[in-house]
Amino acid sequence: MIENVDLSLVDWSRAQFALTAMYHWIFVPLTLGLSFIIAIMETVYFRTGKEEWKRMTRFWMTLFGINFAIGMATGIILEFEFGTNWSNYSWFVGDIFGAPLAIEGILAFFLESTFVAVMFFGWNKVSRKFHLASTWLVAIGASLSALWILVANAWMQNPVGMTFNPETARNEMTDFWAVLFNPVAIDTFSHTVTSGFLLASVFVLGVSAWFLLKKREEWLAKKSILVSGIFGLASSLIVAFTGDNSARTIAEHQPLKFAAFEAHYNGKSNAGLVAAGILKDSDQKLGEKTKKDFILKIEIPGFLSIMTGGNKDAYVPGIEDLLYGNAEETKILSVVERMERGKYAREVLMDYKRARMTNDEEQGNIIKAMFNAKDFIDNYFRYFGYGFLNKPEDAIPNVSIAFYTFHLMVMLGFFFILVCSLALFFSYRGIITKHKWFLWILIISVPLVYIASQSGWVLTEMGRQPWIIQDMMPVSAAVSQIGAGSVITTFILFAVLFTALLFAEVSIMAKQIKTGPKH
């Protein structure tokens, strides 16, 4: 069934999904954050009645509109690509995964897109109160949308709340609340949404700094820096806090991913946290994969143990412990062992299918009962996906990508805490225009915050390879059976189109900023 999978099909399907997701994620975080910043500005206008605040609100709203449309364009593709390119996945877990996507449409996306129309066209048609409410509803709708999408994504990272039905050959939801309150979902949501708030704040800071350097729109720029400085600082602190939580959750639920982003091969107690480092290929191999080594690294001694286990003596398993096992130090089942159990679970499923085909009712019922037995579920079926792997090393994600994206994201995260604090400090003292160097830093921060944001998603998604659903299904088993040529063609079409649209977006945005607010 899956054994003779066309690898180039899998790779191109992944490339197409990654392309869409990364383009989508250029626009979404700005929508998430800017909607709240605009809502705050409009609230000040509502309270004070000062036309300057209205003018400011409308200026940022114009930029919001340019960005919002292209976010919608890329978002619709993502939703449908689960069907077009990952159809086996869509059946295998659609019973659970489809629900949050549908709820997103019904509960959140309509809220967002309905009131965005009022926000854009309602200034002269509805009361000030109704308009303000609409602006807030857009912001809330955007974050609610993100919530449901992230609940769906978190479920792929940590599948919970379901049971396998051998009859239909799919997983079926048994506990909606477990899916919604999945610990990974809570971390991912709080981290991702606040990172969007931070990104938008840095965007507003950067654009405002440009106005100040050009000595234009000083009042608007300074007030914008004040609003986005406060919003950005608060967000950056939450981002750091939730990021730390998220790392702990990953260490628990996706230990190989965690080991990969620290390039931690050999487990130990009193393990240090690598704050920064540069990797090189070592001369050792794990299967066919070359082990990485550090050319240089800055390490905080003992901190990795403290972070994951609460004390310095805690043992942090490395990639090798997780692959081949280390019974003395860690109770985690090795990948080698998981593969055997996964293969057994697959055989049981095949036996069931055979019994059904030969109409062997009795045998069928015996096997079906196994799928409801706790022992089989917890100790065998849980590792179903490992049955698809050919060798244990297949379970290692790309260590270099995981390491660099993780460290880049974290370093930039701390940098933005500093940037937002300084922006607020200078702004509070009224001396921000005197520090031109800082205004330049604010401008340079804009591309950096996008890099940090993209790194986060690359880490999340590349770090969990080879899984599409952690431990349950590898990407190779999930892909739609279409010719690789078709997917290559659509990949190129999407790549050209998205890139052209990105150019258009950036060009329009730059022009609108240069033109400045109207009236």
Partner: protein, 376 residues
Amino acid sequence: MITLISYSFLQSYWWIIISLLGALLVFLMFVQGGQSMIFSLPANEKQKSMMVNVLGRKWEFTFTTLVTFGGAFFASFPLFYASSFGGAYWVWIAILFSFIIQAIAYEYRSKPANFLGRKTFDTFLFINGALGPFLIGVAVATFFTGSQFSLNFMNNVQWANHWHGLEALLDARNVALGLVVLFLVKCNGSMFIINSVNDEDLINRSVRKLIVNAVAFLVFFLFFVISLLLSNGFAVDNVTGNVAMEKYKYFFNLLQMPVVLILFLAGVAGVLYGLIITIFRGSRKGIWFSGAGTVLTVFSMFLVAGFNGTAFYPSTYDLNSSLTIRNASSSLFTLKTMMYVSFIIPFVMWYIWYAWKAISRKKISEEELSGEDHVY
């Protein structure tokens, strides 16, 4: 009480919701219908701007409905999502493609420094307007005419040809339904413009367009409906679940489900009434009758495709791989959970209606547009 709700009730309930969303989507595609006339309807740039702004204030509703339709279909009938999207790849990709280029076209077309030029964005609107409704019509027609696929024991889809959906264009009935949808949304687009602008000349031009499109719509509609009623259908055996061809299946579906027949006839009457009062009596309210008629007609067609023991996504390659609302649905638990979620839909529809009315209070004219700072 809720525990007494049966699996088959929920499957039917969700088919009704999907049918309703599909029906609303076709109605809201009046936006696409209008777009398809962007180069032929307006006499000058001013009229074009008016027309684009009329449609542009509604495009998000159509788009969001499409997204929700997809999401709800995924959640309630995931086997359809997996089989059709993963199998008829090219049709769905083409549909999606036409919607990506729409989403940015309104916002970017008249902005300075828009890189591709206004003409390109207007062409995007045209392509989405013509191709989107046509292909959606073709895809929905395969609900009646069937596709070539099989499902293996893991319920994974294998498409039986290399065309991956494009082969649907070879069946005249599929093409006919594509054209029915296209000309219907063109009619609705004209009537919506007639309803929303304050410009005599643009209104007169829209009426003239409407006459041509209405005739084309009626011709293809009659062809499709007659061929459907005379064709064999994919009937599901209640006990074994086996699928077999049955003569005049869809005709009998209408007779055996009189409520659906009434909805269908009322829908067709609504569309015709809307057309007649607009064309012959100069009414500007035709869109509301035609719109309601569109919803009822499409709704009833979906019910004919899925109810009364009919396979809604049939396979002509392997009859027993055909999808029915029984074998393609989500589990009892998921359908029930989603049913609770669906209770909020009336509230959503209420606030959409409220917001829609709030921003449509003024008819669009040159003066209105010059006083507006968010202009497409």
